[in-house]
Symmetry: C2
Subunit: 438 residues, 2 copies
């Protein structure tokens, strides 16, 4: 390379794929979208760049540090760092024009200037659904959300998965009853680390927060409640916790479990797990995480929950909602690392039409037009190269069929159709090509 060339490269923390992986990625993307749409979620595509004042109305701490923020002219602007703040802004801005409950999906890139590390991205797709009500939002939506997720991961078919559910009212009520209402934040943060740092470290940390030893035992035995969903609900009802919020949360869990069954979600796919807390302030009711059973190290691949107020920073209107998010870029990376992305060909075409020479170009175009006319992707190799190179190209892009047209085939209105996997060849009438390659 001569010295005056710029080295073609991208920055660390940005994902770019070769065609075969991009095709596999897009298949996942479309599967998620298809399920979202089937459940009546509406597409939304917000601006990538927003006013910093608007985007950061609520933010602080880490978010503020990670955001890509810049001036252009006199305007202070920034790239969106999630899809929830833009949704809040959009709903507040257009409340008069939307029908509520407003169900929207958005599958777009978001941007966070994190320190790049393995499996963390600075630019990544989030695939979000949220339902927003005005003043109130029925509990059935708390079951519809995991039902959607259930169908997404069923169709993605990466193996057995479990949706783990909890309810923040149960946790908040339980801790308030023990007299730790002011320490819920610290306690939940510590509990969130139970799987990561282990029981002993959690006990120690809780002690440091001033939780009495007897209460630590109570807390940990409470959090260890496990079993069939109905048994867990009975155990929660039987707990000696004198707190209304707690009681309300348990009944919400019971209602969600009952509705999940009616949504046709298999019992093996969802489980109540009292250790799920999902951060601090935002969520107020049902919360979810989703794990691939055989790959716990991947962590939660889809999370979310119920919140009381979506857009408090923009409007006085009370807008309760529930949402979930799949971080698709990271998920794709993890699936790929674990060999779970099914191999894809480097072509979308079902058939590559190959004219032996220029004299067969007309016949080749006619054949390709016939296949495409049936809505099936097809390609033609137009370059005037030797037959060997043409077949090498077909093999390289991994197209399932090659339709070779020489003089005889052109005269007979046929192609020599080669199955690129088995190597088998047979003469096929051009009119029958769509069925032969479909």
């Amino acid at each position: 390379m001569s010295n005056n060339k710029v080295q073609p490269r991208i920055m660390p923390g940005f994902m770019e794929l070769l065609p075969e992986d991009q095709i596999a990625f897009n298949r996942m993307f479309e599967t998620i979208r298809r399920v979202y749409e089937r459940y009546g979620f509406l597409p939304l595509d917000t601006a990538t760049i927003e006013l910093s004042e608007v985007l950061l109305a609520k933010a602080g701490g880490e978010t503020e540090k990670q955001i890509y923020r810049f001036q252009k002219g006199d305007t202070d602007m920034a790239l969106r760092f999630d899809l929830t703040v833009p949704l809040a802004r959009y709903v507040a801005q257009h409340a008069g024009e939307l029908a509520f409950p407003f169900k929207r999906y958005q599958m777009s890139k978001v941007f966070r200037g994190e320190r790049p590390q393995k499996g963390r991205f600075r630019e990544f797709y989030q695939c979000d659904i949220d339902v927003i009500g005005v003043d109130s939002l029925d509990i059935v939506y708390d079951a519809e959300m995991p039902a959607v997720i259930y169908n997404v991961f069923k169709e993605l078919a990466f193996g057995a998965f479990t949706i783990r559910m909890n309810n923040r009212k149960v946790l908040n009520g339980f801790f308030s009853a023990l007299g730790y209402a002011d320490k819920i934040g610290d306690i939940l943060r510590t509990i969130d680390k139970l799987e990561k740092i282990g029981r002993e470290a959690v006990e120690k940390e809780l002690g440091e927060f001033g939780v009495a030893e007897a209460d630590i035992a109570k807390i940990l035995s409470f959090l260890a409640i496990r079993g069939e969903n109905d048994a867990v609900i009975e155990a929660l009802r039987a707990q000696d916790v004198d707190n209304e919020l707690y009681r309300a949360g348990v009944e919400e869990l019971a209602t969600v479990v009952a509705y999940l069954r009616r949504f046709g979600v298999e019992e093996s796919a969802f489980i109540i797990d009292l250790t799920i807390a999902r951060g601090l302030d935002y969520y107020t009711g049902t919360v979810f995480e989703t794990m691939l059973n055989d790959y716990p190290s991947m962590g939660s691949i889809c999370s979310g929950g119920r919140y009381d107020s979506l857009a408090g920073y923009y409007t006085d209107q009370k807008l309760p909602g529930i949402g979930i998010s799949i971080g698709l870029t990271r998920l794709f990376y993890q699936l790929k690392e674990n060999g779970l992305v099914p191999p894809s060909q480097a072509s979308l075409a079902r058939c590559l039409v190959i004219p032996m020479g220029e004299a067969q170009m007309d016949a080749a175009l006619a054949a390709a037009t016939t296949i495409r006319g049936a809505g099936i992707p097809a390609d033609v190799y137009y370059q005037s190269k030797g037959m060997k190179q043409k077949m090498k190209y077909a093999a390289k892009i991994g197209v399932p069929y090659a339709a070779i047209i020489g003089e005889d085939e052109a005269n007979a209105g046929t192609v020599m159709l080669k199955d690129m996997n088995t190597g088998e060849q047979r003469a096929v009438l051009v009119a029958e090509l769509p069925d032969a390659v479909r």
Copy 2:
């Protein structure tokens, strides 16, 4: 609104749509993508943020001024302003891993900090296809490109359109033969304005560039050659122009016209127009513009052409190619302004299932699951409101069918299916719902 609220808003020059328009936009997007894929183009999704050094390797002038560029830590980065520079960088970076000819499509947002004005956007979708060869790229691709565009606009169905074609070799050869080889840039820029500023202004400007009066007449009569495509080609062949490049360009035009017919493109949809020049340096052969016949004021809605060297700033490899681009955000805006976007409902669901009361929720879920099981989007109204409000919601989202379930229907395993357009109602078995609402 209380004083401590941030006003929810976006910046001028950014397009955000309400659900009914977003649905219409997405339909156009998917139509374009489907046709691109049918012709064997591969998906590509490059990074939104790139190193400024890489992104601006070739840029200058207006581009440099419009770009969104910023520092994060020590890194000088910028948002992509088109999809061609990222393609060049990607191909140079991954040349060893790609199969050539490399056919890719990318349909992504690009960013330009232009002064906002009616119909100009700072963040907009480009829908690009390009074919890149190594060392050479067959002329058939020059016909495949307009064939793809023909099929795109046929399927978008916004009315009659014309693909206007020219060849830069014809223009360059013609002007060189007249002795204006060093003024081609100025002359072509002026010619590009023929439709905008008119013949007289063009004559005056050409005179100012030192074009002799006799030559101005020759140039303008040359550019006025019009007619059936074959007649234009004969007229071009008959011209007394002693220049090899000119002759080569005319034969390329003739070849592209012949191939377009073989691709099944209607003769009425493409025309040779010698006034099409498409900018200055980049294009070297076939060039295109596309107009809606009844809306000439919209200007070109899809443009592109052949270039000799895609990635000269990144690699010494010769990478000739041909590409076209649809500026979808601007096109959507223009179509909408002209009343050409077909009205869409504000819902993707074909049917809204409405339980009369909570007792019918189970039956409602079963009905929705049945419809969704057939792959048809459906929604359920879960909120406990009065029947009137439920029907108002159905009307507001514009769903074609409402499936109302009261006690009788739940017991009979039926729904009262209301056609929301005609108002007609009839009892339908739940099992037959998918066919009834499809």
